[in-house]
Amino acid sequence: MSGMHGTETTAGPIEGPVPPEATSATGEAGSNPQAMAAVVAAVEAALPPDAVVSDHIRLRTYECDGLAHYRVTPALVVLPETTEQLAAVVRACSDHGVPFVARGSGTGLSGGALPRADGVLVVTSRMRTIHEIRPEDQRAVVDPGVINLDVTHAAGPKGYYYAPDPSSQQICSIGGNLAENSGGAHCLKYGFTTNHVLGAEFVTPQGDVVQLGGMAPDSPGYDLLGAVVGSEGTLGIATRTIVKLTRLPQEVRTVLAGFASTDDAGAATSAIIGAGIVPAAIEMMDALAIEAAEAATHCDYPAGAGAVLVIELDGAAVEVEHEFAQVERICQEHHAFATRVATDPAERALIWKGRKSAFAAVGRISPDYIVQDGVIPRTALPGVLRSIAELSESSGVRVANVFHAGDGNLHPLVLFDDAVEGAAEAAEAVSGAILDLCISHGGSITGEHGVGIDKAAYMPKMFSDEDLDTMQLVRCAFDPDGVANPGKVFPTPRLCGEVPGKKKGAPHPLVAAGKATAF
């Protein structure tokens, strides 16, 4: 996924009012101080004293995730150590109608773990046990707070690794990955978190603990785990998780190719895929992103390049050798003027260093910036890049492009200086226009960072009311009281009401007041 440190991947901490989504509708039930007091009492009875944080100064350290321009101080932070403790917290919230938000390492880039002022923040950072590494089953069993890269480190000696590799993988957690369905540079070939999570112990918004999926595939019944992965904490909290381990490839080869323009690099990407090659990764950076990376990491990318591609091939040695020759030829045919090949881990790390640090590096060339995340069909790449360039030119807002070219996942970095009046707004406008471009090309408003609070307002541009209502059915099945991370993903607060055809009580006060729609 994107940047590694919250403060580097934001539009600058814009302190100020919380967006309306964070406080509206569902917040009102929980803003009841008596309810919160009851939750505090229940939580203090169930958790060790040092696992409950209510001191205002300490609470403030949890006020944002990786999207730091949204900030809300939670009413209470809890740090459970076991599923039982976590379930007790959720049960207390459910009993008293208090919203809760789950948080792993807090690296998310869409504000998915933004706390609620009237709610409890459930932090999984003390649940960090890797329970089992089972190469014979190609599975690992890990707690939700376990760091992504630690799974790979633990499995490595057995010849395995955990494939999803968001670029924050040194600090992001498996639980957060599961909630966001995190991707990474290598999902072109290996898929996303959803393809690698096989089972999870799951705490429902009522505080019940159920098992979803398992060690074996195709558990009978609905694939609830499939719905939970990527639901951004709005359906409950996964705890002990069973993930798939992938056999390390025999051979890995990484190529860095410099091109005069993004058009050439984009055409080369299409030609590689068109040749029937499925690389482990194809990443692109444009001139501005290269300039930033060079300033930050001295990664020695080809001088004067209008674009670079980082192409990684992995698999059986003979195939990699063969595909490498094809890739080299295709790059030359598309006027690559410089190529560099890494065959050992040190050389590979050097090539990746520039790419992986790109978001942070942009801080070298701009005081503030927005990290955008949108997806287009790969074949639309050249046209969309030209449109972004036109947007940039007409608005005077600089945009650096870094992206997963293989699967059309763009990460434009929209640069601005918050000290200049109106600059943040202009940057926001360009950033939004880029999402509109993605939608108009049949793409998506988010490839891996999630909707969270940041893009909830864009959901109606991508989905019809009927689509969103249907998703809401799932939400209502899991969380009829709307206590699990309310205000995220969906643009308008909705109440679930009774199941149609069943007895109905008096209308919810918010419905009666015309503030929310019963559903």
Partner: protein
């Protein structure tokens, strides 16, 4: 088995207004022994929506049907007034070769999708396990074959879906790009839901390139632990198998078969390596055998019992050993075949097998599969057998599943009773 509160004449009038093709159901339209009154054959998603709205207004129980090749899987429906037949919706709507995606209507056969995308050197990496099956039926039953070792199953390949809900509302989820985390992944919920949540009308899949060369390396085994040793040897090596199959009739000689795909030179080298892994008795053949993806009950007379067993990969020997023991105890001929490299085996028992004996096989195999992290489902069985066994077995999180069903289909009109826990 039409309920008394259904006014069929009025329903037929409403359905005929919704969709040009509405007919009385015949014996061939029975769903696992339950004969519906009517069959509607809508030609588009809006028509399916109209049909389902009419069905809702007249409280009809509805069973969706693709090509009808797996309609007896699961439990028989409690009631069925209307079959919604999707076979007219048989178009591949879009094949964007450069983006490696295909969009097809639900009634399109898998074979037709493959024919279309093969022209660009591509494939939908879903095996056709039941000949003639449709896209929609494959999704509804989550059918899978040998290729799941390398490419996963429908849940790994479906990137967008259009469904029509029981109330006739059309909804989409996902999209046309492979990478997309906007909104809930409704596709996951409808895969394997046996038509109980919504009617799938269109689906978008990611595609993979067709390999230039294929080879299957096979080796015989006699004992369960031998099979496990061979399968593990392949999985723990770096030969990147596309499939690792086991087929065995307990008591006889079994076969471990490994599919290798890729460029000629690469497949050649990995074939040699795999032969070393599988030992001197192994042999290699280019291309796929005719019945490569066939289920073990295919072509058997009558209505054989069809089982699906799942297990953690290291549980293979235990599952095979239990199968051997229970087959010997009951005297039944159990035919096992499946993706041992993914932890899945399908099993077949003869149609005329004694139901009580079949029930013993189910019970013992289920206990073993559960013990090694999996489950056992009776996919299909003759009514006497179905009456003697627990089709779906114990299902964790059933309460949550019921709550999902209640929201999507509160009146229980979509394939009622076919799924787990009577859903």
């Amino acid at each position: 088995m039409t309920t008394l509160d259904v006014d069929l004449a009025a329903a037929r009038t409403a359905l005929s207004a919704a969709c040009g093709e509405v007919a009385d159901a015949g014996p061939a339209d029975a769903v696992d022994g339950v004969t519906p009154a009517l069959v509607a054959r809508p030609g588009s998603t809006p028509e399916v929506a109209e049909v389902l709205r009419a069905a809702a207004a007249h409280r009809l129980a509805v069973v969706p049907r693709g090509r009808g090749t797996k309609l007896t899987w699961g439990r028989p429906p409690e009631r069925a007034d209307l079959v919604v037949d999707l076979s007219r919706m048989d178009a591949v709507l879009d094949h964007a070769a450069g983006d490696l995606i295909v969009e097809a209507q639900a009634g399109t056969t898998l074979a037709e999708v493959q024919r279309t995308v093969a022209g660009a050197g591509q494939r939908l990496a879903l095996d056709e396990t039941v000949p003639g099956g449709s896209v929609g039926g494959t999704l509804a039953t989550n059918a899978s074959g040998p290729g799941r070792v390398a490419f996963g199953t429908a849940r790994d390949l479906l990137i967008g879906v259009t469904v029509v809900r029981a109330d006739g509302v059309v909804a989409k989820a996902g999209g046309r790009v492979v990478k997309n985390v906007a909104g809930y992944d409704l596709g996951k919920l409808v895969i394997g839901s046996f038509g109980t949540l919504a009617v799938v009308t269109e689906a978008v899949f990611r595609l993979h390139p067709l390999p230039a060369a294929r080879s299957v390396v096979s080796a015989p085994f006699e004992r369960p632990e031998e099979a496990q040793r061979l399968v593990q040897a392949v999985l723990q090596a770096q030969v990147v198998p596309s499939a690792v199959e086991v087929s065995w009739r307990p008591g006889g000689t079994g076969t471990v078969s490994v599919l290798l795909e890729g460029i000629e030179a690469g497949v050649e080298g990995r074939t040699a390596t795999t032969r070393q892994l599988l030992g001197e008795a192994s042999s290699a053949a280019a291309g796929l055998p005719e019945d490569w993806a066939a289920l073990p009950w295919a072509g058997r007379p009558g209505r054989p019992t069809a089982l699906k067993a799942t297990f953690a990969l290291s549980g293979l020997a235990r599952v095979l050993e239990t199968a051997r023991a229970v087959a010997a105890d009951t005297g039944l001929d159990l035919d096992l075949r499946g993706s041992a490299g993914a932890g899945v085996l399908h099993g077949a028992l003869a149609a005329d097998a004694d139901p009580a004996a079949v029930a013993r096989v189910v019970e013992r195999l289920r206990a073993e599969c559960t013990d090694v992290g999996g489950a056992l489902v009776v996919l299909d069985a003759a009514p006497e057998v179905a009456a003697a066994v627990d089709t779906w077995g114990p299902v964790p999180a059933l309460d949550l599943m019921r709550r999902v069903k209640e929201r999507f289909d509160p009146e229980r009109r979509l394939a009622p009773g076919r799924f787990v826990g009577g859903i």
